[in-house]
């Protein structure tokens, strides 16, 4: 029997351990409770902040609601000098910019996602993802500055060319109408926002594509499908709802994009279907006008903020429920 270094035990029976109950107050009990409470409070903060945002914005836009009357809050005229505070034109133009952005970003993002997942060699994956991440890291104001100073003029020329091409075609001639000379236009804003939302749409789409079961992909390949046929046959059907969710998330981002849009959209609140003309969005008009605004105009701009908030919340909920349903079908959480 090897010698055990611990002294007690030979001969006399060892003392029984002290009773579990009624011993001295266990150390650390209070600290443990306190920590738990602090952690819960941190969670509660999220609730508090969101509630405060909604309440404060609502409270401060009441003046606008009263002035315009609930009915015409979305009228198409925004002319504070004439006492007109309608949000309608801006909502529509916000949507126009977002749609243009999505039309540009989604195909590119899907292409990049497929490129990264299916085509690029493993080792090249990380640097490519890094490039896309860098794009996501660039601040909005720098994007706006770049487009404003470097792209606006060339774009103006392109707009002019396109307009000349289609000006006699019935609908196209109006949509691609008389271009703004400076290049500051709804289209320009759409392009910037498209570039800016591309990383997030790519990231989500990549994740969705990656969940395609390998067995499905292999099954199509085993039948002799080409890579493109495998993508169309296995990846796309599987990823349909996930890509929809990615689009909605991108849409939410596009709607909220403020500074880059403010710099390049030309600040005109007159509703137009001409994408080559200047316009304005809910977010960018706040950025440009709030500083000098007062009274009802200020209240109206805060109301615009509320509308923006409502839009992003609704879009967020929709995207989340789509993703949740898609994940449930796959059996993930």
């Amino acid at each position: 029997m090897t010698q055990v270094l611990d002294p007690p035990a030979s001969g006399a029976a060892p003392e029984p351990p002290p009773p579990l109950v009624g011993g001295p107050r266990p150390p650390g009990y209070l600290a443990d409770r306190t920590f738990r409470i602090v952690a819960v409070l941190a969670g509660v903060m999220v609730l508090v902040i969101l509630a405060l945002i909604i309440w404060v914005l609502f409270d401060n836009s009441l003046e606008w609601f009263r002035e315009e009357g609930i009915g015409s809050v979305f009228s198409l005229d925004w002319a504070p000098n004439e006492g007109k505070y309608g949000a309608g034109a801006l909502v529509i133009m916000t949507l126009m910019v977002a749609v243009i952005a999505l039309l540009l970003a989604v195909p590119v993002s899907v292409g990049i996602a497929l490129f990264i997942n299916e085509i690029a060699p493993r080792r090249a994956r990380l640097p490519i993802v890094f490039v896309v991440d860098l794009l996501a890291a660039i601040p909005s104001v720098v994007f706006g500055l770049w487009v404003l100073r470097q792209l606006a003029s060339p774009l103006a020329d392109i707009y002019a060319d396109v307009h000349n091409l289609v000006k006699d075609v019935p609908i196209l001639g109006d949509v691609f109408g008389d271009p703004s000379a400076s290049g500051l236009a709804i289209m320009t804003a759409g392009i910037v926002v498209g570039i800016m939302i591309m990383p997030i749409v790519t990231a989500i789409t990549r994740e969705v594509f990656a969940t395609t079961p390998a067995s499905q992909k292999e099954a199509t390949l085993a039948m002799g499908a080409t890579r493109w046929e495998m993508i169309r046959g296995a990846i796309f059907p599987h990823s349909r709802s996930g890509v929809v969710a990615a689009v909605i998330i991108g849409f939410g981002r596009a709607v909220g994009e403020t500074i880059a849009v403010a710099l390049v959209i030309g600040s005109s609140q007159v509703l137009t279907e001409n994408v080559f003309a200047p316009g304005d969005t809910l977010a960018s008009i706040i950025a440009n006008q709030f500083g000098e605004a007062s009274g009802v105009q200020r209240s109206a701009l805060i109301g615009f903020g509320l509308v923006l908030l409502a839009m992003t919340i609704v879009l967020g909920i929709i995207a989340r429920s789509i993703l949740r349903r898609a994940n449930r079908r796959l059996g993930i959480a």
């Binding site: 306190t34 738990r36 860098l134 909005s140 100073r149 470097q150 002799g224 710099l263 989340r320």
Partner: protein, 310 residues
């Protein structure tokens, strides 16, 4: 008379039960389509890389025209027309305001992540917090600026760097919460069990075993949140005011920031102002890129360390 007749070669089998000696290959047209698709995907990547390269090149080129140590430290000129002056106050402002926001958002965010992963589990309240946190990430930054303006600035009746920090912190908070929760989720359950089995209470287990294991990921995620916050403009527009001189005090007096300066100078007809805008933009993307790279380095270096030398 015998003549050897050579039967024509059998056609290449196309049916699914094709000969294994001559496996079915896609016809030329299908292969072409697939190749074309691949080319398109590569082009898509190029389409993403081009704006990045063009932007970085252009901003660097224009920014380097004025970038220098003096530029980073001299006061802002009073007139946009003026050639002298630098963006010193903006650098100070960005640093001070971003640090202030980080000090508020990161501890609170990590605690929130701890609450969600370690205490909330599948509870209804936990699900609510998770849901609202996700909503909060989607709130546009201009709305956050309006919020802090009406809620705080109007109440204390002054614009300060701190107000800007508050707005940025609200933007950062849900991001840090999500990162923390995800990193904590990755900590193996055996580690927690081992600590608890030694008589450690839950809070101590979290502090001394779980958090250290998750720390590299949390730091990395927080750095990314900081990088984003440093570049934000809209939350600062109405909350921090403006100043010509550097203000290191978060709580007194107005302030300015790189992003705000860029926004203000971008449209200026005066060349010096435009140059300052580019100089500031260059500085800003330098900061942001460094922070992003640091985040990646932390992930790579420390994750290896935590998993042991082998």
């Amino acid at each position: 008379m015998t003549a050897t007749v050579v039967p024509p070669a059998p056609p290449t089998p196309r049916s699914p039960s094709g000969s294994i000696l001559r496996p079915r290959k896609a016809t030329g047209w299908r292969r072409f389509k697939s190749g074309l698709a691949s080319v398109l995907f590569v082009l898509a990547f190029v389409a993403a890389a081009i704006p990045l390269i063009a932007l970085v090149y252009y901003v660097t080129r224009e920014g380097l025209k004025v970038f220098s140590w003096e530029f980073l430290t001299t006061e802002l000129p009073f007139s946009q027309r003026s050639v002298d002056g630098g963006i010193g106050p903006a650098v100070v402002g960005t640093i001070v305001i971003t640090v202030g926001a980080t000090l508020m958002a990161v501890p609170l965010g990590v605690l929130g992540g701890i609450y969600l992963n370690e205490y909330a589990g599948k509870s209804k309240f936990g699900a609510l917090v998770r849901f609202l946190s996700e909503i909060l990430t989607g709130v546009p930054s201009i709305v956050m600026g309006l919020f802090i303006y009406t809620f705080w600035v109007l109440r204390v009746k002054e614009q300060t760097g701190f107000a800007g920090s508050l707005a940025l912190a609200c933007l950062m908070l849900p991001v840090v919460i999500r990162t923390s929760e995800e990193m904590l989720k990755l900590v193996p359950h055996e580690l927690r069990e081992g600590s608890l089995a030694l008589g450690s209470r839950k809070s101590r287990t979290i502090r001394t075993v779980v958090l250290p294991h998750a720390a590299p990921g949390i730091v990395s995620g927080s750095l990314l949140a900081v990088a984003r916050a440093a570049g934000e403009t809209a939350p600062l527009l109405f909350t921090i005011g403006a100043t010509q001189t550097a203000n290191w005090n978060l709580f007194e007096g107005t302030n300015t920031a790189l992003s705000v300066q860029i926004f203000g100078n971008a449209n200026s007809p005066y060349i010096p102002a435009q140059e300052r805008a580019f100089g500031a933009a260059f500085t800003l993307i330098l900061i942001v890129f460094v922070a992003t790279a640091l985040a990646r380095i932390v992930t790579v270096v420390y994750t290896r360390r935590v998993s042991g030398k082998s």
